[in-house]
Amino acid sequence: MRILNLKTFLLFLAPALLLYSLFYAGPIISGLYYGFTDWKGISFSANWIGLDNFKNVFSDPLFATALRNMFILAVIVIVVQHAISIFLAVLLDQKLRGVVWMRAVIFYPAILNTVVIGYIWSYMYSPFVGFLPKFFESLGLDALANIDWLGRPDTAIYAISFVIIWQYTGYSMMIYMAGLQGISSDIYESASIDGANARQKFFKITLPLLVPAITVNTVLSVIGNMKQFEHIWVMTQGGPANSTQVFGTLIYQFAFKTSQPGYGTAMAILLSILIMLVTVSIIRVLGRWEVKQ
């Protein structure tokens, strides 16, 4: 097929190019500019202050908190979430009664509105009026019932992690099931002939051949959790006492609540660089473990 002529080609390209420049390229470039200024967010004018914003970010104690929480979310959530979803994927890949219904139920939270989930779960966690404390009380577990899950700095981030795992386990389970479909059953048959049991089959066949799916899933989860905003904002707004702050909430706070969007933009730039670095590392490491069938 030949391109008719350059003009027609460009005309067809123009609408998409326009949308892309206005909503992607434009803001990214202007963001890169404003990150180096002291922009107050009201008019478009700003003074260039070089790397001052970035220096301030590194010396901000909240930056350390954000890094720590991001680490917790990225590592703990991913390890737990993916362990559970691989297990569920293998479990529900069999022909059981009602397995399709089970898959739907587990997947369902992933399509629910995040804000609604945040509000409902924060109510469930509430001492005195929430479901969880009353549930523990009815079981006689008073020690657990008295914990203010979202109100204590030492438990808040883990309580939020649980909600994130709850919401997205079904989603990663689906990706793993797709990965499982790609493993030919001949391999399992020949392993059975050689006398392998179920555990050996899982660790020596299933897991290594799932590595591409694990890579995809992990990268998606890591990026998603590093950008995390909604769950934390709805459930604790970065509190209590700034203990659940992450980059997303800090950027929102600085960009929109105080008049320091230049500082917030600098943080956003740092976050993007961090995400890129982490993603590249993960793909490199996991790529080495890929086994071709």
Binding site: S122, D148, R152, P240, Q253, S259
Partner: protein
């Protein structure tokens, strides 16, 4: 064949319903203005004027009765109320940057101050109606000698209390700090938590420390301007005890245990269930106790942070400043509306309709709520000042400090004041 036609039809219905629901989301909260006989003669010149639509942006509903009366008086003007219940500052900021079509906009005091230098607001310094308002109200809307608007409603910062508990224990309403501690100790001894305030919604938990603002302003009315300009610092000795009262209450264990994770809505629920005797909040929360709330009798008293011998200063929160936008297409009509609401009988109507006190002198209805009489009496028998607004970088620094104290982390109070000063310096012009 049938299959694909059916699915095509379903898809079409889905697409249409999506489009219709997206477009139909426009607000329909403007009831058609009252027609029929009016007892106020419309101004003569109105008959030959082109119809004008006046947009008013606000975060709480505008009194419908006042709108109807205004439209009766000026039939050529239609008022279009625009209530933005969430993210108000961000929405208005976006509209101002894009110079959207606006006429009258409510502004928070620190929000208004942001836009004063940018030529966004109409100068109302020479309007005759200024004299109708409380002086402290006009002061709030004035920056560097020019008046840009007036806050209209006011609420008092109070402690709601369970009258049943107080009666059972034979307690009187406290008017000094020592009396408050005494009352709390007796309530705690009886097995009930004295206070509940939550912690998740930090704006709601600030009143036991922010209550100090009144005392500071009473000693020096310009103290917050001075803090904003750098003439005074949060680390100055007069402000050193800012977190003192709150810390004392926490140290004595007067707050309900395990309640820091409660959001404001849940705190109200816990208070209504009788799990704590007192709940510090602004008097707008009177809405939570309508006439049919029968669990217990609710009362309210101004927060007594004053030590014995010092005056009890009531903090009035008044923050809905009516401003005019400088590029409004109908500046004359804006002025007519501002003049209209400054009249005491309009104000009384507004006060009844919105169930709150107003800053127009003589404009507060005495019956806007069953507790209103008791409350208005204690407000009027004490000194009062209007709650200042802090500059934008203060709240993100201040609110987590409240949570630290409530969490019993016992932070160094002097260090907290240093952090407050650091945050203030970020907003120096």
């Amino acid at each position: 064949m049938k299959h694909s036609r059916l699915s095509a039809l379903l898809l079409l219905v889905l697409a249409v319903s999506l489009v219709v629901s997206a477009c139909g989301g426009g607000n329909k909260n403007t009831d058609s203005p009252a027609t029929g006989s009016s007892d106020v003669a419309p101004s003569k010149a109105a008959a030959d004027k082109e119809p004008v639509t006046l947009k008013i942006s606000s975060w709480n509903p505008i009194s419908q009765k006042v709108i109807e009366k205004f439209e009766q008086q000026y039939p050529y003007i239609t008022v279009e109320p625009d209530q933005i219940a969430d993210q108000y500052r961000e929405v208005i900021r976006t509209r101002i940057i894009s110079k959207a079509d606006m006429d009258i906009v409510w502004m928070f005091p620190n929000q208004m101050r942001e836009y004063v230098d940018q030529g966004v607001l109409m100068d109302m310094s020479d309007e005759a109606w200024k004299g109708n308002y409380l002086e402290s109200a006009v002061q709030l809307g004035t920056v560097e000698g020019k008046t840009y608007g007036v806050p209209y409603n006011y609420y008092a910062v109070v402690i709601f209390y369970n009258r049943g508990v107080f009666n059972d224990l034979g307690l009187n309403v406290p008017t000094t700090w020592e009396e408050l501690l005494d009352v709390s100790e007796k309530i705690k001894a009886s097995g009930l938590a004295p206070f509940v305030t939550g912690g998740k919604d930090a704006w709601a938990t600030q009143f036991m420390s922010s209550g100090n603002f009144g005392a500071y302003q009473n000693k020096d009315p310009l103290v917050f301007e001075k803090l904003a300009s750098g003439e005074k610092k949060w680390t100055d000795p007069e402000l050193a005890d800012f977190f003192g009262p709150l810390s004392e209450l926490v140290d004595k264990g007067y707050f309900l245990e395990n309640s820091v994770g409660l959001g404001n809505a849940q705190v109200v629920q816990v208070f209504k269930e009788g799990k704590a005797a007192m709940y510090p909040m602004g008097s707008w929360a009177l809405d939570e106790f309508p006439a049919d709330f029968k669990e217990f009798e609710v009362g309210a008293f101004p927060i007594p942070l004053n030590k014995a011998g010092e005056p009890l200063v009531v903090n009035l929160i008044s923050d809905n400043i009516f401003t005019g936008i400088s590029w409004s297409k109908h500046p004359e009509e804006v002025k007519l509306f501002m003049d209209f609401i400054a009249q005491p009988d309009t104000a009384k109507l507004w006060s009844e309709d919105t169930k709150s006190a107003v800053t127009v002198v003589g404009g507060t209805s005495p019956t806007y709520h069953s507790i209103a009489e008791e409350l208005t009496k204690s407000i009027e028998s004490n000194v009062s000042t209007i709650f200042p607004s802090l500059t934008p970088s203060m709240e993100p620094a201040y609110f987590p400090m409240l949570q630290q104290i409530l969490l019993k982390q016992k932070p160094d109070l002097a260090k907290l004041m240093e952090e407050m000063q650091k945050a203030q310096e970020k907003d120096y012009k």
